[in-house]
């Protein structure tokens, strides 16, 4: 177990290193002057030269990448003469346009995105799993057909369309909710939730559709398995047979799937945040791309990659914990 964990962590570290190298190469070695890109629009000659010096763009490429890695571990200073911008570890870069370390910018936005993702997942998982189970148990009946239709619809509808409809109905037409504006949880939990409920629903509906389909497929498979038949033949209540002996087999694929879904959800979150005007990492990404703030884009990409890798490692461990047949080796 410990051995497995160490190996997985080592493998994750290698993946992340490779990711950082590829991202670094893509953004910094692509055609165009990185200094111009980092400095942003309306940058004059003097500031451009300053940026170039701070970024160390005259150093050899491998040295630049090494400084980047060093910054991640130990932090770094971007200096040009007396002008020093300090970037504490883990330093993902420095945004010269906004004059802030990228890490600080990401951390500022993180609570918003985390609130969105956690709330959506808290809605989507129970919703998706119960819808999937229900349609598996009511196989061939009207309930299943309706469920299949609804999940297909959720599967196929883009998040911005759902978001728009929700905004129009609940904020503009019914006026039950204010147009969303982020309020930190620490400030007022009630208003935090009130403002986030529509983005949660929009994001959750799409995730729930995926979970529902996977749960349904898994449940249909386990419900006809021999060991389920065994417990029926030994007089257990149907509810008990399903809860104790069918559900687990049906839900294990979901662990792996949820981890794979993380990437999809992050993409959907970019749209959701933009749509509802939530100042999260997704919105930051869009803004940075629009204003060509290169260091921020690199930072976001590395962060997103890390989240995906960590999620998959955790999923593998959970899978092994849930299934005694999986040997961690």
């Amino acid at each position: 177990m410990i051995w497995y964990l160490l190996r997985r962590l080592a493998a994750a570290a290698v993946v992340l290193l490779a990711l950082s190298a590829i991202v670094y190469a893509l953004f910094y070695l692509s055609p165009g002057d990185p200094a111009v890109l980092a400095c942003g629009r309306g940058c004059d000659g003097e500031r451009l030269a300053l940026t170039r010096e701070k970024l160390g763009l005259d150093d050899p490429v491998h040295l630049q990448y090494w400084h980047f890695l060093e910054g991640l571990v130990a932090g770094r200073d971007y200096s040009a003469g007396p002008d020093v911008d300090h970037c504490a570890a883990p330093c993902l870069g420095y945004s010269f346009q906004t004059d802030q370390p990228v890490t600080t910018m990401l951390l500022d936005r993180l609570p918003v995105s985390a609130s969105l993702a956690a709330g959506a997942a808290a809605l989507a998982l129970p919703l998706g799993v119960s819808a999937g189970l229900l349609s598996a148990l009511r196989r061939g009946r009207l309930t299943e057909r309706v469920m299949t239709g609804v999940t297909l619809l959720g599967f196929a509808t883009p998040v911005f369309l759902i978001g728009l409809v929700l905004l129009m109905v609940f904020c503009a037409y019914l006026q039950w909710l204010p147009f969303p504006a982020y309020v930190p949880l620490t400030e007022s939990p009630a208003r935090w939730a009130q403002n986030l409920v529509l983005p949660w629903v929009a994001l959750a509906l799409i995730q729930a559709a995926v979970y529902a389909r996977i749960t349904r497929a898994g449940a249909l498979e386990t419900l006809v398995e021999d060991h389920v038949r065994t417990f029926r033949a030994y007089g257990l209540r149907e509810r008990q047979v399903i809860r104790r002996h069918a559900l687990r087999g049906a839900l294990i694929p979901l662990i792996t799937l949820t981890a794979l879904e993380v990437a999809q959800v992050m993409t959907a979150a970019v749209l959701t945040e933009t749509m509802f005007g939530l100042p999260g990492i997704g919105k930051l990404t869009v803004e940075s791309v629009n204003s060509v703030d290169l260091p921020v884009v690199v930072g976001v990409t590395v962060l997103a990659g890390t989240v995906v890798v960590v999620a998959n490692t955790v999923a593998d461990l959970l899978h092994a914990a849930a299934d005694p047949r999986v040997k961690l080796a």
Binding site: D226, H227, F231, G235, L236, R244, P324, R325, A329
Partner: protein, 536 residues
């Protein structure tokens, strides 16, 4: 004495298809009834319907278990009946237990559902019954997961689950089909002991007449959903009245059937010397090489049939694959017609491939489902650049007893026996000199099995074939082989002429295997008398 189970005119219908067509029987306490039949005869449906486990089926007639009218029983009563009065043991011990829960907990859960016992008492009960069915160190093994049990132990665990509830009737649906013959003998003994000790009635369903013969009082022969014959086991097996029973019995390969004399052996076609094959298993740092074939030496003579028998894990299938170089040996020599196949590069091996063919166990899985069977048979001919592969394929189909007009059909449109004929036709397409058959009749019904074996015997003469016939079934091997090698743990423990091996086996393991084979004589219960002290 009134029967514990009374079945009258039982009919089970799935949509328009009637799987059981009016079966009636009685089962008294302490007695055993065997239900035999081939696949599709309705015997499993019959067993399942006794507990109303046939989903989506319309069941009519009468099933009375003691006072309970099973077909009319409300849900709560049905639950008490299931397990409590009638318990069931299923065919596949690998999948019949919940893989996610400990074996003891599963037994305890069922026990609690029926008795309302405390968690603690139920656990103790689980250990007690596991011990009763012969699981060594039951207190510790109760905490194991099903995958940590062997096939035989899992089946014992399921019997223990039944035993905990002290049912009046035990239904065993092909309880030993997935198990090795020595393990099968031990389990059948266990069922017999439990029946004697608890007075429960046994309904034993099997495709294997031999399994039923020594373990039941009465036998019911099923075909196409009907009971074609029903009577005391001795009468039915010795003097069957129904024509179908006679056919079925005639098709069962017997250990005592007369054999044709072996042909005079030619010089060796294949010489195997100290052949080894290892597989590397285990986690890193603790990787170890496990020998599947552990140094075997033998010859296969031109024109003979060499049988290779062994239980699961003995290395016989690995050996079969080594002989035709589907696997590369770790060490040793496989000299075919003067050339060593081991270590020969694939390019130089290719012209030899047409001389070495393999017939696989599962004809369903070894044919490409997306290709017509004519295409599958013609494929090797095409690869080797033969003219008119399509015409040759149709001629081969005709030779193995299939309608050549069906060359454009797909594998799923054929029965199991027909699919194996297709597999044989494909193997023969290039007129090989050595044909290795790996369990070629294992997945077939006895009557189909007999036909396929007959076909192989005919083809052997016609195509001047040398055969290596790998099987777990001693009676089948005895029927087709001139010489037999017995494998265990990757080694050949005994190799002798078929008659010598079966009449005076030298190795203790060979004797143990032979003693475990069920015979058709109901007076001889199997297993007893065999040297079988080792637990499963």
């Amino acid at each position: 004495m009134s029967p514990v189970l009374r079945v009258r005119d039982l009919r089970v219908r799935f949509g328009g298809f009637e799987a059981v067509k009016g079966v009636s029987f009685d089962l008294a306490a302490g007695r055993a009834l065997g239900v035999v039949g081939e696949s599709g005869s309705g015997k499993s449906t019959l067993a399942m319907s006794l507990l109303r486990l046939t989903e989506g089926a319309e069941t009519t007639g009468e099933i009375r278990a003691g006072e309970t009218d099973v077909l009319a029983a409300p849900k709560a009563e049905l639950r008490r009946l299931r397990g409590g009065r009638i318990a069931m043991v299923f065919q596949d011990p690998l999948s019949s237990l919940d893989p996610y829960l400990r074996v003891g907990d599963q037994i305890a859960e069922v026990y609690r559902a029926h008795t309302g016992a405390t968690r603690r008492a139920a656990r103790a009960k689980a250990v007690e019954v596991l011990d009763r069915v012969g699981i060594p160190d039951a207190a510790r093994r109760a905490r194991a997961y099903p995958h940590e049990f062997s096939g035989g132990m899992r089946q014992r665990a399921l019997i223990a689950m039944a035993l905990a509830l002290r049912p009046r009737i035990l239904i065993a649906d092909e309880p030993t089909t997935a198990l090795d013959v020595t393990v099968q003998a031990q389990l059948l003994d266990l069922l017999g002991d439990l029946r004697a000790a608890t007075g429960m009635a046994l309904l034993l369903v099997s495709h294997d007449v031999g399994v039923v013969a020594g373990n039941v009082d009465e036998v019911l022969v099923m075909r196409d959903g009907e009971a074609v014959e029903h009577g005391p086991v001795g009468t039915v097996l010795r003097a069957p009245r129904a024509g179908y029973t006679r056919e079925l019995l005639a098709a069962v390969p017997r250990m005592d059937a007369p054999r044709t004399a072996a042909p005079t052996p030619g010089e060796p076609l294949l010489r195997v010397t100290d052949l080894r094959r290892e597989f590397v298993l285990g986690p890193p740092l603790r990787r170890r090489a496990v020998p599947a074939v552990d140094g075997v030496t033998f010859d296969v003579r031109r024109g003979e049939t060499l049988g290779i028998v062994g239980e699961s894990g003995s290395g016989k299938s690995t050996l079969a694959r080594l002989l035709v170089r589907l696997l590369e040996p770790t060490s040793g020599r496989v000299v075919f017609d003067g050339r060593d196949l081991a270590g020969l590069p694939e390019r130089r091996l290719r012209p030899l491939r047409r001389d070495l063919q393999l017939v696989f166990q599962d004809p369903g899985a070894s044919l490409n489902p997306r290709r017509t069977v004519g295409d599958s048979i013609a494929e090797p001919l095409r690869v080797h650049g033969e003219p008119d592969p399509g015409g040759a394929a149709r001629a081969l189909m005709e030779r193995v007893g299939l309608d050549p007009r069906r060359a454009r059909d797909y594998p799923h449109e054929f029965s199991g026996g027909q699919r194996q004929r297709i597999g044989i036709a494909r193997a023969l397409a290039l007129r090989p000199r050595l044909l290795v058959c790996d369990e070629p009749v294992t997945s077939l019904d006895v009557s189909t099995q007999a036909q396929v074996l007959e076909l192989l015997t005919d083809l052997r003469h016609e195509f001047d074939l040398t055969l290596v016939f790998v099987s777990h079934d001693l009676a089948v091997v005895r029927q087709v082989s001139d010489r037999v090698a017995v494998m265990r743990h990757g080694k050949i423990v005994e190799l002798a002429g078929t008659d010598a091996l079966f009449e005076s086996p030298e190795h203790p393991y060979t004797r143990e295997l032979l003693a475990a084979v069920p015979t058709l004589d109901p007076r001889i219960p199997h297993g007893r008398g065999g040297a079988l002290e080792a637990p499963i």
